[in-house]
C-alpha cells in the first residue's frame, strides 16, 4: 500500500481543508466539538497520559509503603485504597483505552486510507463518556475511596464501606466508552478501507485493533451487567452473589473474569499490533508471516473467551472446570509463540536501525517473553495453587501489562509522535529514558517473582521480615523507573515547544499514514489513496506497486 498508484477524486465536492488538523479551527471549543478522529485521538492521548501519571503516583506510594514492613508512610486502610485505585485507574482508565482510543483512533483511519472513522460523532461521544467515567471515578476517590481491589470480589465489596457503588458505576460507564470505540473500529475496518485494499493488504496494526475491537464488543457488555448487579446488590441486597442470602460469590468471579480475562487481551493485542508495525519499519523489511500474525491475533481473541477460569483455580470452582480452563489456557501460548518468532525473524537480512521506537520494540520482545512464559507457570494448575494471589502473579501481570503493553504503547507514542504533532523529540534523550525504563522496570518486578514463589501474598500491607530485602530492591527499582518517565515527560513536552519540524515520513515507512503530511491535513489525504500491494513491500523501490 506503500504506493498510491491511482488517485481518482472520488469525493463529490472538493474540500478546502488543506491546513493541518491542529490548526484547522482554534480555541478550546473547536476541540471539544470536533469530530475529527485525529483530534479526538489527541484528546484521548492527554487524558490517558494524565491517568497513567495518576496511577503511577499511586504505584510509587505502594512501593514506598512496602519499603519496610508495618507502617512506612500510610495506614493499612489507606494502603488498601491506594492499591485498589492504582489497579482500577491503570486498568479501566489507562491501559484499556490507551492504544485503541488514543493511538489507533489517530492512525487507524490514516492507515486504511480513510477520511475518518465510520461514526465520527459516536467517536466524540465515546470520549465524553470516558471523561464522565473518569470524573465519577475521581468522585469515588474523594468521597471515601474504595478498598476492594480492582477485582471487586463479593461479598467483601458488598459489605465494605466507601464509595464502591460509585467506583463500580464509573467502571460501568467506562465500559460503554470502550464498547463504542470497538463498534466504531469494527465498522471502520469492514467498510472504510481504501479502494483496492483487501483484508490482507491492511497493515497488521489494523488486524490487531480489529481483534481487540471484537473483544471490546463481545465481552464488555457482560462486565456492564455484572457491575450493575453488584450495584443492585449493594443498594437492594438482592443476594445473587451473597452467600448469606443464598447467592454464590464464585458466580461473581465467573462473570467478572468472563470480561476481565479477555480484557487482558484487549490490553496486549494492540501492543502486539504496534510491534508488528515498528519492527518492519525499522528493519526496512517485509514482515515475516503476515497471515500467521494476522490470524493469530484473531485466534488469541477467540480463545481468550474460554480460559477465564484460570483465575479461579483456588476459588472453589469444580475440579472439572479447573481442568478444562487450564487445558484451554495453554492454547494461547501457540499463537503467542508464532508472533514472537515471526517478529524476530523479520529482522533477518533486514536493515535494522536503533531509534527509540525500535528500542522499545526490542524491549518488548524480551519482556513479553518473560511475562508470557510466567503465564505458563500460572496456567499449570498445581503450580498456580501455590502461586495464586502471591507476588508472582503481580510480577507476571506487570511484565505483560507494564513491560509489554505499556512498553509497546511508548514505542508507538515515539513512533507516531512526529506524525501526530509534526515535531521531533530529542533522540539521545529518548534512548536514555528507554534504557532507564527498561532497567528500572526489571529491577522493580524481577525480585517480585522470587518474593511470590517464596510465598509472599499480594495485597499485603505488612509482611514478614524475611521478605524485606527483595521488597527494598523492588522499591529502589521503581525509583529508576520513575526517573525514566520524568525524563520522557521532559523531552516530549520540550519537543512541542521547540521548533524541530518532523518530515512527513521520518522513518521511511511504507504504510499509508506516513504518505501524508506531518501533521496530517484535516481530511487526511488530498486525494483518496488507492492501493495496490502489501503494506511492507520494502523489497522494491518506492512507487513500483504490483499494479503499477
Amino acid at each position: 500500500m506503500a504506493d498510491i498508484i491511482t488517485s481518482p477524486h472520488i469525493s463529490g465536492h472538493a474540500d478546502h481543508h488543506d491546513v493541518d488538523y491542529l490548526h484547522d479551527g482554534k480555541g478550546l471549543k473547536s476541540w471539544l466539538t470536533t469530530v475529527d478522529h485525529k483530534r479526538i485521538g489527541v484528546m484521548y492521548l492527554w487524558s490517558i497520559l494524565f491517568m497513567f501519571f495518576l496511577g503511577g503516583v499511586f504505584a510509587m506510594m505502594i512501593r514506598l509503603e512496602l519499603l519496610t514492613p508495618k507502617e512506612t508512610i500510610m495506614s493499612a486502610e489507606t494502603y488498601n485504597k491506594v492499591f485498589t485505585l492504582h489497579g482500577a485507574i491503570m486498568v479501566f482508565l489507562f491501559i484499556i483505552p490507551s492504544v485503541p482510543a488514543a493511538l489507533a483512533n489517530f492512525v487507524l483511519p490514516l492507515m486504511l486510507g480513510a477520511k475518518d472513522v465510520a461514526f465520527p460523532k459516536l467517536n466524540l461521544f465515546s470520549w465524553y463518556i470516558y471523561m464522565a467515567g473518569a470524573l465519577i471515578a475521581i468522585a469515588a476517590m474523594v468521597t471515601g475511596g474504595v478498598d476492594t481491589g480492582w477485582t471487586f470480589y463479593t461479598p467483601y465489596s458488598t459489605t465494605t464501606d466507601g464509595s464502591v457503588a460509585l467506583m463500580t458505576f464509573a467502571a460501568f460507564v467506562l465500559g460503554f466508552s470502550s464498547i463504542l470505540t470497538g463498534v466504531n473500529f469494527v465498522a471502520t475496518i469492514h467498510k472504510l478501507r481504501a479502494p483496492g485494499m483487501g483484508w490482507f493488504d491492511m497493515p497488521l496494526f489494523c488486524w490487531g485493533i480489529y481483534a481487540t475491537a471484537l473483544i471490546q464488543v463481545l465481552a464488555t457488555p457482560v462486565l456492564a451487567i455484572t457491575l450493575l448487579l453488584l450495584i443492585m446488590e449493594r443498594t437492594f441486597g438482592i443476594g445473587i452473589f451473597d452467600p448469606k442470602l443464598g447467592g454464590d460469590p464464585v458466580l461473581f468471579q465467573h462473570f467478572f473474569w468472563f470480561y476481565s480475562h479477555p480484557a487482558v487481551y484487549i490490553m496486549i493485542l494492540p501492543g502486539m499490533a504496534i510491534i508488528s508495525e515498528i519492527i518492519p519499519t525499522f528493519s526496512q523489511k517485509t514482515i515475516f508471516g503476515y497471515r500467521a500474525i494476522a490470524f493469530s491475533s484473531v485466534a488469541i481473541a477467540l480463545v481468550s473467551f474460554i480460559v477465564w477460569g484460570h483465575h479461579m483455580f483456588t476459588s472453589g470452582q469444580s475440579q472439572l472446570a479447573s481442568a478444562i480452563f487450564s487445558f484451554i489456557t495453554f492454547f494461547v501460548a501457540v499463537p503467542s509463540a508464532i508472533k514472537t518468532f515471526n517478529w524476530i525473524v523479520t529482522m533477518y537480512k533486514g536493515s535494522v536501525a536503533f531509534n527509540a521506537p525500535m528500542l522499545y520494540a526490542l524491549s518488548f520482545l524480551l519482556l513479553f517473553g518473560i511475562g508470557g512464559l510466567t503465564g505458563i507457570f500460572l496456567g499449570a494448575v498445581s503450580v498456580d495453587i501455590h502461586l495464586h494471589d502471591t507476588y508472582f502473579v503481580v510480577a507476571h501481570f506487570h511484565y505483560v501489562m507494564m513491560g509489554s503493553t505499556v512498553i509497546a504503547f511508548l514505542g508507538g507514542l515515539h513512533y507516531w509522535w512526529p506524525k501526530m504533532f509534526g515535531r521531533m523529540y530529542s533522540e539521545p534523550a529518548a534512548r536514555i529514558a528507554c534504557a532507564l525504563v527498561f532497567i528500572g522496570f526489571n529491577a522493580t518486578f524481577l525480585p517480585q517473582f522470587v518474593l511470590g514463589s517464596r510465598g509472599m501474598p499480594r495485597r499485603y500491607y505488612n509482611y514478614l521480615p524475611e521478605f524485606q530485602a527483595l521488597h527494598q530492591a523492588s522499591t529502589v527499582g521503581s525509583w529508576i523507573l520513575g526517573l525514566g518517565f520524568l525524563i520522557m515527560a521532559g523531552y516530549l513536552f520540550a519537543s512541542l515547544r521547540k521548533k524541530m519540524d518532523a518530515p512527513a515520513n521520518p522513518w521511511h515507512s511504507r504504510t499509508l499514514e506516513w504518505q501524508t503530511a506531518s501533521p496530517p491535513i484535516t481530511h487526511n489525504f488530498h486525494e483518496v489513496p488507492s492501493v495496490g500491494g502489501g503494506p511492507y513491500d520494502y523489497y522494491r523501490p518506492v512507487g513500483t506497486g504490483r499494479n503499477a
Binding site: 469492514h190 463481545l218 465481552a219 457482560v222 452467600p243 448469606k244 442470602l245 443464598g246 454464590d248 464464585v250 458466580l251 465467573h254 462473570f255 468472563f258 473467551f305 474460554i306 477465564w308 477460569g309 472453589g316 470452582q317 469444580s318 475440579q319 472439572l320 472446570a321 478444562i324 480452563f325
Partner: protein
C-alpha cells in the same frame, strides 16, 4: 443498487403473516404453561423452544436478516454464541461442584462436630 431500495420490491404481506404467527405462538406458550409435561425442565425447554422460534421470526422478517448482508447475521449469531459460552462454562462449574465437594452450593450440612470455634452458630446455613 443500494440496499435501501431492496424493500420496495416486496409487499408487506409477509409482515402481517409473521405477526399472526407470533400472536398464535404466544397463545401456545401460555397454553403450554398450564400443561404439565412431566417435569418442569421439559416445560422450560418447550417454552424456550417456542420463544426461540418467535425470536427467529422477528429477526429474519421484521429485522430483515433474511435479505440482509450475511455479516449482520454473523454479528447477531456471535453474540448468542458467546452468551452460550458464558452459560455453558458456568453450568459446568455449578453442575460438577457437588461431586467434588459433597457440601456444594446447594446443601450446607453443619460439620459433624458442633459449629466451629467461636462461631455464632449456623452463620451460613441460616439462609437455607
Amino acid at each position: 443498487m443500494s440496499e435501501q431500495a431492496h424493500h420496495t420490491s416486496h409487499s408487506p404481506l409477509p409482515y402481517l403473516l409473521t405477526l399472526i404467527a407470533l400472536l398464535f405462538l404466544t397463545g401456545i406458550t401460555v397454553g403450554a404453561a398450564y400443561v404439565d409435561f412431566g417435569s418442569s425442565t421439559v416445560n422450560i425447554i418447550i417454552a424456550m423452544l417456542i420463544a426461540t422460534f418467535k425470536a427467529s421470526l422477528v429477526a429474519l422478517v421484521f429485522m430483515h436478516l433474511r435479505h440482509d448482508k450475511p455479516l449482520n447475521s454473523i454479528i447477531f449469531l456471535s453474540s448468542l454464541i458467546f452468551l452460550g459460552i458464558l452459560l455453558g462454562f458456568c453450568m459446568i462449574d455449578l453442575g460438577s461442584r457437588e461431586r467434588v465437594y459433597p457440601t456444594g452450593l446447594r446443601k450446607v450440612d453443619p460439620p459433624p462436630t458442633a459449629a466451629p470455634a467461636a462461631a455464632p452458630p449456623a452463620a451460613a446455613p441460616a439462609a437455607h
